[in-house]
C-alpha cells in the first residue's frame, strides 16, 4: 500500500519522549491560518520554489512496508526512550497506510499527532497500535474554530470523547499557542472546562508559535494569512487551572 510523505526528520527532540524520527504525512483537511507547514496541506505532490535553492519536489510516495522498515532501522538508533512520531499534514487522512506502517513498528515507541478531524473508528484502530497520541485540538468554540482553521469543532470534540472513553494509548492535548486565536480568555476557559470532563487526558502542552512560518508560503506560491501576520506566541493567564498539568514546550 502506498502513502504520501513530505518529510522525514531524524533526531527530533520536540515530538515526544527521547530522540525520535518524525514522519510528516502529506495532506490536511484543516487550513489553520498560522500553519507552519503549508507544503503539507495538499494531498498531492507539489513543487516548491525555494529562493536561492531552486526547486524541490515536496511529497514522495512510499510503500508502507518500505517506510516501516526504514523507520524501524532508524528507531534502532533512537534508544529505548525515543521512537517514531507521525505528524503532518494530518496522518489520519491516510489511516490504512498509517496502520500498515505501524504494524512494522512493534516494540518501538510511537506517537501519532492528529487534529482529531478524522474518522473516529479509524482513530480508535490507530490508538490500539500506538504508544501515545498528541491530540491537536486548537479551538473549542465551533464558530471560532471554523474561522481560524477552516473546520468546525464538532467532529473533533466527538472524536476526543470517543478516544477518552474507548482508547487505550496515553494521550495529551497539544495546542499551538497562537496569540489572539488560541490564547483568548474564551478559548482557555472552554479548554479548562473541557479538561474537567476528560478522564484519561494526561496533560496539556502548548507549542510556541513558529516565527518562520510566513516565509514558507512564498515557496508554495501562496500568501500568508493577514489575520495571523505576526504569528507570535500567546500568554497563559494565571487563572488558567485545567484538570491536568500543563506547560509551554520549548
Amino acid at each position: 500500500m502506498k502513502g504520501l510523505v513530505f518529510d522525514i526528520s531524524e533526531g527530533t527532540i520536540h515530538d515526544g519522549p527521547g530522540l525520535r524520527t518524525t514522519v510528516f504525512l502529506k495532506g490536511c483537511p484543516l487550513r489553520c491560518k498560522w500553519c507552519h507547514s503549508p507544503e503539507g496541506q495538499g494531498r498531492t505532490p507539489e513543487i516548491l520554489h525555494l529562493p536561492g535553492a531552486g526547486e524541490r519536489l515536496c511529497g514522495v510516495e512510499w510503500d508502507a512496508d518500505a517506510l516501516g522498515e526504514h523507520l524501524a532501522e532508524l528507531a534502532a538508533l533512537c534508544g529505548e526512550a525515543g521512537g517514531v512520531t507521525f505528524s503532518g499534514g494530518e496522518p489520519m487522512l491516510q489511516p490504512e497506510f498509517l496502520l500498515e506502517v505501524l504494524t512494522r513498528l512493534t516494540g518501538v515507541h510511537t506517537v501519532v499527532e492528529t487534529s482529531g478531524f478524522c474518522d473516529g473508528d479509524a482513530l480508535l484502530r490507530v490508538d490500539a497500535m500506538v504508544s501515545r497520541i498528541h491530540y491537536g485540538l486548537k479551538i473549542v468554540d465551533d464558530a471560532a474554530a471554523e474561522f481560524w482553521t477552516g473546520r468546525g469543532t464538532r467532529l473533533i470534540l466527538e472524536n476526543l470523547r470517543k478516544l477518552d472513553a474507548e482508547g487505550r494509548a496515553e494521550y495529551n492535548l497539544r495546542l499551538p499557542l497562537i496569540a489572539g486565536a488560541v490564547d483568548t480568555p474564551e478559548n482557555l476557559r472552554a479548554l479548562e472546562a473541557l479538561s474537567h470532563t476528560l478522564r484519561r487526558c494526561r496533560r496539556i502542552d502548548f507549542l510556541p508559535a513558529n516565527p518562520l512560518a510566513p516565509a514558507k508560503y512564498a515557496a508554495c506560491g501562496r500568501e500568508f494569512s493577514p489575520e495571523c501576520r505576526d504569528c507570535v506566541t500567546g500568554h497563559i493567564p494565571s487563572w488558567f487551572r485545567p484538570a491536568v498539568p500543563w506547560s509551554i514546550l520549548d
Partner: protein, 668 residues
Amino acid sequence: MLSDRLQKMRENTRERFYNRGRIAPLDEADVDLTGMSPCQAAAELFVRRCRREVPTVFPGEKFCFTRSQGKIKYPKTRIENLSADWELLLEQGVAGRLAVAREKLAAAPPGSETADFLAASIRMLEAALELAERYAAAAEAAGEPAVADLLRRVPRHPARTFHEALQSLFFMFSMFHLSGVTLQGWGRMDQYLEPFYRRDLASGRLTRSEAGELLAEFFIFANRENDAYGMIQQGDDGESLMLGGCRRDGSSAVNDLTLLILETSCDVSMINPKINLRVDSHTPEEILRAGIRLTGRGLGFPQYCNDEVVIPALIDFGYPLEDARDYTVAACWEFVVGNGRDIPNNMAVNLALAADRAIRWGLREHAAFDEILSRVAPEIRGQIKMPEPTLLPNPLFSAFSGECLERGRDLHFGGGDHLHFGCHGCGSSTAADSLAAVKKWVYDKKEVSPEELLRALEGDYRDAEPLRRKLQDSPKTGNHDPETDRYLKFVFDAFAGELKKLGRNKFGGRIRPGTGSAQFYVKMTQGEYRLHLGSTADGRRDGEFISSSLAPAPGVRANGIFSILKTYGTLDYNKLCNGGPITLEFSPAYFRTPEATEKTVGVLRAFVASGCQQIQMNVLDRETLLDAQAHPERHRDLIVRVWGWSGYFVELDKAYQDQIIGRTAYGG
C-alpha cells in the same frame, strides 16, 4: 561557576595580559652548535633557552610558569602530537629520572651514542630544575612563600598532592615546549591524577569544590601561551586530553575526576585543554550527560571516541592489547598508543583528486565504469611515498617517554617500541559523490556524454550550469544510500590497501590510514598545492571546499543525523586506525533546555550503536558566525571547532571561517 579571581584571570588571559613581557626567542641560528652531536646540540639550545627565561610571578596565583620567549622557529623534525608519560613525572619526579640517567651513564661505554644521549638528557633535566629554582626564588621575592615552597618540591620530587601534581605537570609541559616539542597532549588526565585526587579528598586536604577550583585555574593557565604554541592557525596548539574509557585490564576507567574535569571545562569555557571522551555501550549515563552539557557550551569538544571500534582497530594494526586499551589522542584525533614515537599526521592523500583523475581518464578513454573504479587505487598510489624523515633527538622529552632512559636511546633513535606514520584520507565524500554522479548520468541514464562532462570539468562548468545542476541531483554521501556508501567504502579500502603495500621503512614503521583531513580541506582546494583539486563530477566548482574529515560534502543537506551515522557506520575501521572524526553540526535547539540536552545524549548512544569510530559534535549558529565575520569586536570569545581543535573564530584566517560558515547544521 568561576570565582571572581579566576574570572579575572580568564579575562586577563584573553587580553594577553600575561604575554606583555614577551622577549625574542632564542633560535637555532642564534647559537653556535658546530661540532656538537645532535643530542648535545638539543641540550645546548635548551639550556640557553632556559637561562633566557625571566621568571615572572603574578600575585595570588596558585601555579607558576609564564613563558617569556615568544614563538620559536620549530625544526621540521621536532617531537609533536605526543603526550609524555605523565605518570613517570608524577611518580618519580625529575630527580628520579635524573637518577636513572646517571646510573645508566655510569655503565655506558664512554663516547658511545648511549652516553651521548644520557649526558644530554641529564643536562636538560638539570636545566629544567635550575629554572624551577629561579622561579622559587622569584616567588619568594614576590612575597609568595607558598608558591616558592611548591616550586622547590616539584617538578624535582614525586608529587604528593593534587596541587603538586598539577604544578609539576604544568612546569614540565612548559619545559617540553621550550625544548621545541609542539602540539603536546595531556594524555589520560583522569587516570594519572585520580590517585592524588582521591587521597586529598580522603585525608580532608581538599574538598571536591576546592579540587575543581585548582583544576579551573590550571585550565586557564593552559590558555596562557596560545600565541606561542599555535601552529597552522591560532588555537592549533594541541593540549588535548583524554577522559573515560577502560583501564589496561579492560575494566571501566571512569571515576569522579572524569566528571569533575568535564564540569570544570564547562565552567572555564576556553579553547584549552581540548577534551576527548572515550565512550562505549556501557558508559554511565551521568558521564554522557556531562559530555553533552559540555558539547552544548559550543566549544567544539568533547570529541567522542568509540572504544568498541577504536581498540579493535589498534589491535588489528599490531599494537599490544593492553597498550591499545590505554590509547589517548594526539593534538587532534589521531589515536596514540604508548611506548612509541608514532608520527600520526605525517602525510595526506587527496581521495577526491584520485577519484577525479580516474574519472577524467575514463571519460577520455571511453572506459567502462568498473575500469574507472580500478583506476582509483593507482591514482592514490601516485600520491604517496614512504616517509623516511631525518629525525632530531629530544633527550628531555625522551626522559619521560616509555623506557628511553632505561634503554639509553632517544625516542627518535629507536628508544620506543614503534615508529609508525599516519596518513589522512581527505575529501572522501566528494570522491564518492563524484563517482555516483558519473555512474548515474554517464553510465546508467546515459543522458550525459563522456565528452560533454569532460569538457565541463576542464572548463570548470563555465557555460554548463544546467549540466552542473543535473550532476548535483545524484546520490549523496551521508544519506546512507547504497550507491554512495559503496563508493565511500571503496575509496577507503583502496586507500588502506595502497598504504599497506608500502610495507615498512627504515624505522620499522608502517602507515596508519585515517579518515581525518586536518588543514587539507583548505590546502587542497584554495590556491597552489601539489594535490590541488579542480572542479569535480559531483558539480563542485574549482575553489569550493571539501568537507572537514568525515562529513557530507559542503552544500549537501543529508537526510539527517541518523543517516549520516549509518553511512559512516558502514566503513571498515579496522583498516583505518589513525582516526578522523565525523564532523556534525547541530543547531542550538539541541542544547537549549536541560530536557533537550538529556535527549541529545541519545545521539551519542546512536553513534556507538551504529559502529562509528569518532565524532565531533559542534553547535553551529550560522547567523552568529556571519555577524562575527562582520563585527569581530563583538564576538571576541566566540569559539568554533576548526578541524581537530577549537579556536577563537575571530582569530582565524578567512578561508577557515568561510569553510565553517558553509557547514550544514542539523535542526532538532
